[in-house]
């Protein structure tokens, strides 16, 4: 297992994977079912998703542990299985990735807002520690704290990851375009504020994920790069904002559209590129080809 930063030095641009959530639903996960429990009950399906991204040519895959925090798992009464579900998520992706590919352990938001006082900082921190440690035990190469919108929560997660493991830590925030054309998270955090805050607590890789499609990701990466010329940037882009068609949600951005934009994203300063909601192995394959040509 090599380090993520070393891999970046050797290959310059790395391709990450695509969506997990939307993929799990295609394979039969019902709304209201716990996606992380599938690591135990539907291990083959989870493995198939991980493997499909490796087969599509991704250098890196994530883990089926986005909602693996005790506070999210509590909705399903599974909070006592936090370590088990995260460790298994890591083990599945490790098996699919083999020794030639990297595994990034996914840690998503807890869904609670610290400033509301519903939960203590200590409780959130302890939860993140359990996740980080379990993902490491399951065999991940690095951790990815993703889809963050609040600085306090993200920094707690980063500190927990760094204090319980020796792994490199990436952190990505989700930004939306405001009416005045700036980018802010729902908590009001700008890309510049994110960069400053997360670097202070020691992340190795910064970035952005989810969002409203590739074009906006290019803007956000440019903004991050204008403040920070050095730190590697990771982008996991949605396949656009979903549209409701014939009773179901459809993501508008095709693999071709994403592939056509990847050159611009690299030029903006992105180093690791993959997909988020609505992206498929075909999107990742498209990215791999486009980057090879680039």
């Amino acid at each position: 297992m090599s380090s993520l930063l070393t891999a970046l030095k050797n290959k310059k641009i790395l391709v990450s994977d695509g969506a997990w959530g939307t993929f799990l639903h295609q394979r039969g996960l019902q709304p209201g079912e716990c996606p992380e429990l599938w690591n135990i009950t539907h291990r083959d399906d989870v493995f198939a998703i991980a493997k499909s991204y490796i087969d599509a040519g991704a250098d890196i895959i994530l883990t089926n542990s986005f909602g693996g925090s005790p506070s999210k798992l509590e909705h399903y009464g599974l909070q006592d299985r936090t370590a088990e579900l995260n460790k298994t998520a890591a083990a599945i992706s490790r098996e699919a990735a083999g020794v030639d590919h990297l595994v990034l352990g996914s840690i998503g938001p807890t869904g609670v807002i610290l400033m509301m006082g519903e939960v203590s900082e200590e409780a959130l921190y302890d939860g993140f520690c359990i996740q980080a440690e379990a993902l490491k035990k399951g065999g991940v190469d690095a951790l990815c704290i993703e889809t963050m919108s609040a600085v306090d929560e993200a920094c707690l997660a980063i500190r927990a990851a760094r204090e319980t493991t020796d792994l490199e830590v990436a952190c990505t925030f989700t930004f939306e375009k405001t009416v005045s054309g700036e980018y802010r998270t729902m908590m009001g955090v700008s890309p510049a504020e994110m960069v400053q805050a997360v670097k202070e607590v020691g992340v190795s890789i910064i970035g952005t994920n989810c969002g409203n499609g590739f074009d906006q990701m290019i803007d956000i990466v440019q903004e991050i790069r204008s403040i920070d010329p050095i730190t590697p940037i990771l982008v996991h882009a949605n396949a656009g904002k979903p549209v409701f068609q014939d009773g179901k949600a459809v993501f508008p951005e095709t693999p071709e559209k994403m592939a056509a934009k990847v050159g611009e994203l690299i030029k903006s300063g992105a180093n690791i590129i993959g997909g988020c909601c609505g992206t498929t192995p075909a999107h990742i394959q498209g990215l791999v080809h486009a980057i090879r040509v680039h």
Binding site: G21, T22, H25, Q30, P31, G32, K72, H75, G111, I113, M115, M116, S149, T178, V179, S180, E182, R184, T185, M186, M187, G188, K241, P242, V243, F244, G247, K248, A249, F251, C277, G278
Partner: protein
């Protein structure tokens, strides 16, 4: 307008809960919504005037939120200040001295456990003088139907964050419309658009909490 009432409105808008609260920085050490409401009631200012001040403050912060001038933290603090006012007004609501504008049944649809957006809507709608019956998250359509049956004349709000639960939202809207064709339904959430809302058969869509208030006020005025 009485100076105290103006100050209460200002405290709600800026999220100044009470004297002890350190937020916002610019109002540190000053009296907040809690103290000022008590003083206003002691000074025999009518609860209606206080409620109106509270509504105005929430309306202004809701509009600033819609214009992206403030974000979730500012809205949450304003809601906390609003609740400090409401705690003092509770007896007047109970006795019927002051009345709510109407009743709003709200919930996140089946299969979806996300509550941040739904809670923001609840706070802003409450702060604008409506009673909110919050059914929580992962609300099955039967639960919505029961609530509508038990709350005559209510308006219904459905929230969803996941693209996969938009389908359940659509089903819930349709079931409501079959059983209660006169009941108005508004939907909201990250993956939604006006187009999607209308295709589902909803009466309205809002991108932000203040839009829900505009929708509700329009119906109650009609």
């Amino acid at each position: 307008m009485d100076e105290l009432v103006v100050r209460i409105s200002h405290c709600v808008e800026n999220g100044k809960i009470n004297k002890a609260s350190p937020y916002p920085n610019a109002m540190k050490g000053m009296e907040g919504a809690d103290e000022l409401t008590k003083q206003a009631l002691d000074a025999a200012i009518g609860p209606d005037a206080i409620l109106q001040a509270c509504n105005d403050g929430m309306q202004r912060i809701g509009e600033r939120f819609s214009r992206n001038e403030v974000f979730v933290p500012e809205l949450l603090m304003a809601a906390k200040a609003m609740h400090a006012v409401m705690a003092h007004l509770e007896p007047f609501f109970k006795s019927g001295t002051v009345k709510v504008k109407g009743k709003f049944v709200l919930g996140t649809v089946a299969g979806d456990l996300h509550d941040i957006g739904k809670n923001l809507v609840r706070m802003v709608v409450e702060g604008n003088g409506w009673e909110v019956i919050d059914l929580g998250v992962d609300v099955k359509s039967t639960k919505f139907l029961d609530a509508i049956k038990n709350t005559p004349g209510c308006i219904v709000g459905l929230s969803a964050l996941l693209t996969t639960t938009m389908v359940n939202m659509s089903k819930t809207v349709q079931e409501i419309k079959i059983q209660f064709p006169a009941t108005k339904v508004i939907v909201g959430g990250a993956p939604l658009t006006m187009d999607a809302a209308l295709k589902m058969g909803a009466d309205g869509y809002s991108h932000d909490p203040q839009g829900a208030v505009t929708f509700l006020d329009k119906i109650s005025a009609a």
